[in-house]
Amino acid sequence: MTANQVSVFIENRQGRLGQVLSVLKENDINILSISLADTTEYGLLRLIVNKPTEARDVLLKAGFSSMLTEVLIIKVPHQTGALQKILAVIAENNVSIEYMYGLSVESTDASIVMKTNELDKACKILAGSNIGTLTSKDIEAL
């Protein structure tokens, strides 16, 4: 029930982000969600793409430090308090969230991409609470 995220380390230099995006475009890879965590020195680019393994490989080949990270993509209904409910379940079970960002794939539902400190445990909690997730396969099919 997990999905692969492509993570790319980029040192803060002008044009570096653009280069990553060019590589993806040239290889016909579609970006569904993007998050950039930055410090003064470097940025960590996190991407949900339709072809994660291929994206990782072409980026590595182009000289970028890129890797695959297993994350959860959790469906969140468009309702007030929906996200809060999901996070409460996770917190109750003492799982910590490392980072999180949004992903919008359907007109009715939103999703969030989440990395936790304990992936397997988080999967069980979500399954046990009937919270839906998207896998890499689902993403590829979008």
Binding site: F9, E11, Y42
Partner: protein
Amino acid sequence: MIWNKEMECMSPEDKKRLQSERLVKLVKYVYDNVEFYRKRMDEYGVKPEDIKSIDDIVKLPYTTKNDLRDTYPFGLFAAPHSDIVRIHASSGTTGKATVVGYTQNDIDVWSECVARCMTMANVTKDDIIQVAYGYGLFTGGLGAHYGAEKLGAMVVPMSTGNSKKLTTMMVDFGATAIACTPSYLLHLSEVLRDEGLLDQIKLKSAICGAEPWTEKMRNEIESRLHVTAHDIYGLSEIMGPGVACDCVHHAGLHICDDHFYPEIIDPKTLEPVADGETGELVFTTLTKEGIPLIRYRTKDLTSITREACECGRTSARISRFKGRSDDMLIIRGVNVFPSQVEAALVEVEEVTPHYMMIIDRENNLDSLEIQVEVDTKYYTDEIRGIEKLTKKISQVIQSALGISAKIKLMGPNTLKRSEGKAVHVIDNRKLY
């Protein structure tokens, strides 16, 4: 004013005679007491008897920092350990430090030389001098301290690290002289200005050394602080500060050449070059007992003149330094070799051997940034993982160099690869 007129203003003939006598004695002394020199001289086919005057010095082999490393820690000591009263150390080219030892006589000679230099800077027994070089293994602090005491000045052993206390005491004590690195003195001038203390200080002399500096910096120091700023030179292998200094005429640095015999050589051919031509400075420690060195290659590039100076001193003078014949850097007064960085980074599994050192000077303080490429397999997608790695590298570097550096992680293949000799240093300070 001249501290030791007899030695400093000696006629060239007498100086040569004295240097000759001392060299003959020195060569016999090291041959008898240092296995390293005995072997090396035997290899060169030169015996102590072959050295009859200072002109014969060219027959002797050179000594380098690597020889000190290879004989670490005490292999080049000529005096028995019971006669050694002090140890100092400086950066080696890799892991191990360069260690030197002093007998009581060496300390006395050193103090005498520093006293001469301070006198060139118009410091007398009536002065109050703040010594703001580091005290410890580094020769700067204790060397300047003993010299100033020999002079009879009132010495305030500030050491380094507390500018606020230093400026407060400078005002409260009415300090008239200071010994520190020129870049630190410029920094202090800004601290004094910011604290509104510039018109309350009584400084008149500054003895600046331990790093290369320019005429422009001297002008800057002199105009900001209304002092005369003097360039004191030395290196621990030869003695420490006090090997040479410039007088009020600022016409080159007077070498205490009755103790340290200078030569200038072509660093490539190792042949002597004519007076006035630039080359590498080489010293022979004519009177040293603890760790006497023969034809030690300083790697500092300069030229020499033996003409008498307007001040009356006849000692040989070296020009302002024009660079180094090796890749040693002086950062915040600390000697740093890129090879030390390289050796330290090898210990860090996560990084590749590719690195770049960027040295800059901001607000008159040196900054060092080290960019390292991280091995692709060690990247993490979490900021905290990267911060942890940065911290780890930073600690390894700090312990290897003795100074802190800002670490910047780089992606694979982002550092420029050079064809031929690798370039690992960008020095933006323009010190030569």
